[in-house]
């Protein structure tokens, strides 16, 4: 990242050909895996106590995309998820609501209805989630269906096969097309989150390139994983995304959000991610507008820790609702 800001025309120039896009992405500074992991682990050792912890727990709850992405999803399951998103702890109205619920496109109308007028977004995974293995028309139709049904946010997956075989321009164009499909008839647009499936991209250099590629193509959020593979969000791969959005804003003035997803289950883990956001990006990203957790079981652990802070005692899983 040069410290000289990239202009709009400069950005367009980068994606003008496969060759120039490749030159740009491969010109990004490398990542030393050992050093990156050491830094992520180091941030994980910050000790969070009392007032800071109480603040961070509520912040984490308000950043959750409460998610159900199962083949067995039913309207009933989605409705109870929405209820939980609105009112996570029936015994304590001071608990904030989550940022969004995240469902498959066909469940969007159910979720919209169940949420009523609550200020909670509906996010839909689209573009042949989670594999991304479908032709462009299918992916566009998938997205259009979700947007038409009222999705506020679209979580798309990139074609990892295309990425690994170096067809960056194809992915750039896919993201740009999906971004267009997110536009509603009234001219507003659903927020576009781009999922890399970092576990399949394997190297940190690949993850940084994917981050820049998505941001260049217009992503509003970049997201680590689908939650459907062996390696999902890790502190280290999330750190790469955080550094990328920081550098992208420095270069272009455009701020992009970050969403680690999959495998974040405990309050302790969530705290580590918030510490990373705090120290790498600072206040500007410490809000649900710019940082999200893609998680389903994290919420209950946060609620139990919240109850423990309030009462001084640990109650146990029967004191929070199963869904």
């Amino acid at each position: 990242m040069s410290s000289s800001p990239l202009s709009a025309s400069g950005l367009a120039e980068i994606a003008s050909s496969e060759a120039s896009l490749r030159r740009f992405l491969h010109g990004l500074p490398g990542i030393d895996a050992v050093g990156l992991q050491a830094r992520a682990a180091g941030l994980g050792t910050r000790s969070i106590k009392t007032t800071a912890k109480a603040y961070a727990i509520d912040l984490a709850i308000s950043m959750i995309d409460l998610t159900t992405l199962e083949g067995a999803d039913t309207p009933g399951k989605v409705r109870s998820l929405c209820q939980k998103a609105r009112n996570p702890d029936p015994g304590d109205p001071s608990v904030p609501h989550t940022a969004a619920v995240c469902v498959y496109p066909d469940m969007v109308p159910i979720a919209k209805e169940a949420l009523g007028g609550a200020p909670i977004n509906v996010a839909a995974v689209a573009t042949a989630f989670p594999s991304g293995r479908a032709g462009l028309p299918v992916k566009l139709a998938d997205t259009a269906e979700a947007v038409a049904a009222g999705a506020d946010e679209v979580d798309m997956v990139i074609d990892r096969g295309a990425f690994l075989s170096g067809r960056y321009l194809e992915i750039y164009e896919l993201i740009a097309e999906i971004k267009k499909a997110c536009v509603r008839p009234d001219g507003t647009a659903a927020h576009l989150k781009v999922i890399f499936e970092t576990g399949e991209l394997v190297t940190y250099d690949n993850i940084r390139r994917a981050s820049w590629l998505a941001m260049l193509a217009g992503a509003d959020f970049i997201k680590t994983s689908t939650g459907k593979v062996a390696v999902n969000a890790t502190p280290a791969n999330t750190l790469v995304l955080l550094e990328a959005v920081r550098d992208f804003r420095a270069a272009t003035g455009v701020q992009v959000g970050v969403k680690p997803a999959g495998g974040i289950r405990t309050t302790k883990d969530a705290m580590k991610y918030l510490v990373m956001v705090n120290e790498i990006l600072g206040d500007d990203w410490l809000s649900p507008d710019w940082f999200r957790f893609g998680a389903s079981s994290l919420l209950n652990d946060l609620l139990m820790q919240r109850q423990k802070l309030a009462s001084g005692r640990y109650s146990g899983p029967d004191y929070v609702t199963v869904d």
């Binding site: 410290s3 490398g30 030393d32 050093g35 050792t45 106590k49 550094e243 410490l286």
Partner: protein, 479 residues
């Protein structure tokens, strides 16, 4: 720095340090004894200036007693089979692990360094050194120094205040493993963990006189290193004192190893992994408040990426937390002493006067205690004092270079040669550069990594002899 998410303080308990006596004598021949002199020194907590304890200023008489005890113990200790000596060392290592929280807190209080470093770096390494050399004790004939390497005798060891317990481990573990007995003098600002280590020697049942601890300042050190009854002197500290010791011992049969100052070059090439290089720069100079002889205090950045690296470095420095060493979130603790603080202030003032550009993040420093904000000087040229002299504080000088040849020339252009760092994504460049740097340790794409298996020591005015690893045995063997 972020205000939205302020961490609550997370202090470690001072009580975990255990009882600190109001006065300490020496540890000689397995007993805690009073000094033959009446002079006492005070050790303070550098973060509060509170007096922690008084301790004896060792006299020549004290040194005589300690050396005599070590001499007497040498006969039986050196005759023990290696496997038996190893058992004592393993026992000491395990006790250090068991008491590591106590030792970490005590070290933080006495030295001013953050608990994060004593707990996560110092103490694990201290135990590791004892474990490592315990393993060598019964294998000395396979170390490459002949079929029957013999111990040297009585070792006089003088250690500095920057890593009190770690330097003790570097000195005592190989000496005992090879069958020597020791008289060790800790620094006058940080004697407490060495005295606590004496308790551990008792707890381990170490035979009397094998380890003796004599406290005091430079006068005690001079009496010890110049004592005719010692066979070996090992010193870690300033080049100036090292020279004086070398002069004293010149022409005698006493062996000497010196580990002295440094002004290490940390070289960042234009293809370096920037974010990790910045971490390495921070670790290189701000680790342990810069009180590190191998600190990467001269940053050599390729001109084409200078602005980018400096900007990223300043951003990173803004997130460093300076303050209470016992807070688990503290990155930079207190400067060890008023004298050291004055020295850092003098050199940084000189840096400004010579025209270098000074920058520190805005951070509030506590009112009491000795503090110095992390500082970076840019526009530094090779002729500036801050680019030549060891500052021994959290102060970084940034210089630039244009080609790899120039980087090597500038890196080597120093009277010192303890360590160096290389940051590049290109493996061949790492090898090319490392083979041309005149420094005892060269780290590539990392910095300040220590391990008991890895030898450590200097070129030129950074001293001679090696500590650590198989090489570290040689200093204590008659080979």
């Amino acid at each position: 720095m972020a205000q939205l998410f302020e961490y609550a303080p997370a202090p470690e308990s001072r009580a975990a340090a255990g009882d600190i006596a109001s006065t300490y004598g020496h540890y000689i021949d397995g007993e805690f004894v009073e000094s033959t002199g009446s002079e006492a020194l005070k050790t303070v907590d550098p973060s509060t200036e509170e007096v922690l304890a008084e301790f004896a200023q060792g006299t020549e008489g004290d040194v005589d007693r300690a050396v005599a005890a070590a001499r007497k113990a040498f006969t039986s200790w050196s005759a023990l089979p290696g496997v038996e000596r190893g058992k004592y060392l393993f026992r000491i290592a395990r006790i250090i692990q068991e008491r590591s929280r106590e030792l970490a807190v005590l070290e933080s209080i006495d030295n001013g360094k953050p608990i994060k470093e004593t707990r996560d770096v110092d103490l694990p390494l201290v135990a590791a050194h004892f474990f490592y050399y315990a393993g060598w004790a019964d294998k000395l004939e396979f170390a490459g120094y002949g079929p029957n390497p013999r111990p040297v005798g009585v070792a006089a060891q003088v250690i500095p205040w920057n890593f009190p317990l770690l330097m003790l481990a570097w000195k005592i573990a190989p000496a005992l493993a090879t069958g020597n007995t020791v008289v060790l003098k800790p620094a006058e600002t940080t004697p407490l963990t060495a005295l606590r280590f004496a308790e551990i020697c008792r707890q381990a049942g170490l035979p009397k006189g094998v380890v003796n601890i004599v406290t005091g300042d430079g006068r005690t050190g001079a009496a010890l290193t110049g004592h005719p009854g010692v066979d070996k002197v090992a010193f870690t500290g300033s080049t100036e004192v090292g020279r004086a010791i070398a002069r004293t011992l010149a022409g005698t049969r006493t062996r000497l190893s010196l580990e002295l100052g440094g002004k290490a070059a940390n070289i960042v090439f234009d293809d370096a992994p920037v974010d990790q290089a910045v971490e390495g720069i921070v670790d290189g100079i701000f680790f342990n408040q810069g009180h590190v002889c191998c600190a990467g205090s001269r940053l050599l950045v390729q001109e084409s990426v200078h602005d980018e690296v400096l900007e990223a470095l300043k951003r990173r420095m803004s997130t460093l937390r300076v303050g209470d060493p016992l807070d688990k979130n503290t990155d930079i603790g207190a400067i060890n002493s008023a004298a050291q603080l004055a020295r850092i202030q003098e050199l940084t003032t000189a840096g400004e006067a010579e025209g270098a550009e000074r920058w520190s993040p805005s951070c509030e420093l506590p009112a009491a205690g000795y503090w110095f904000a992390p500082t970076v000087f840019s526009n530094v040229s090779a002729t500036h004092r801050i680019a030549r002299e060891e500052i021994f504080g959290p102060v970084l000088s940034v210089l630039t270079f244009r080609t790899p040849e120039e980087a090597v020339a500038k890196a080597n252009n120093t009277p010192y040669g303890l360590s160096a760092g290389i940051w590049t994504e290109k493996g061949s460049r790492i090898l090319w550069t490392a083979s041309r740097l005149r420094a005892g340790v060269v780290w590539s794409n990392t910095f300040n990594k220590f391990d008991p298996t890895s030898p450590f020591g200097g070129y030129k005015e950074s001293g001679y002899g090696r500590e650590g690893g198989r090489h570290g045995l040689e200093a204590y063997l008659d080979v």
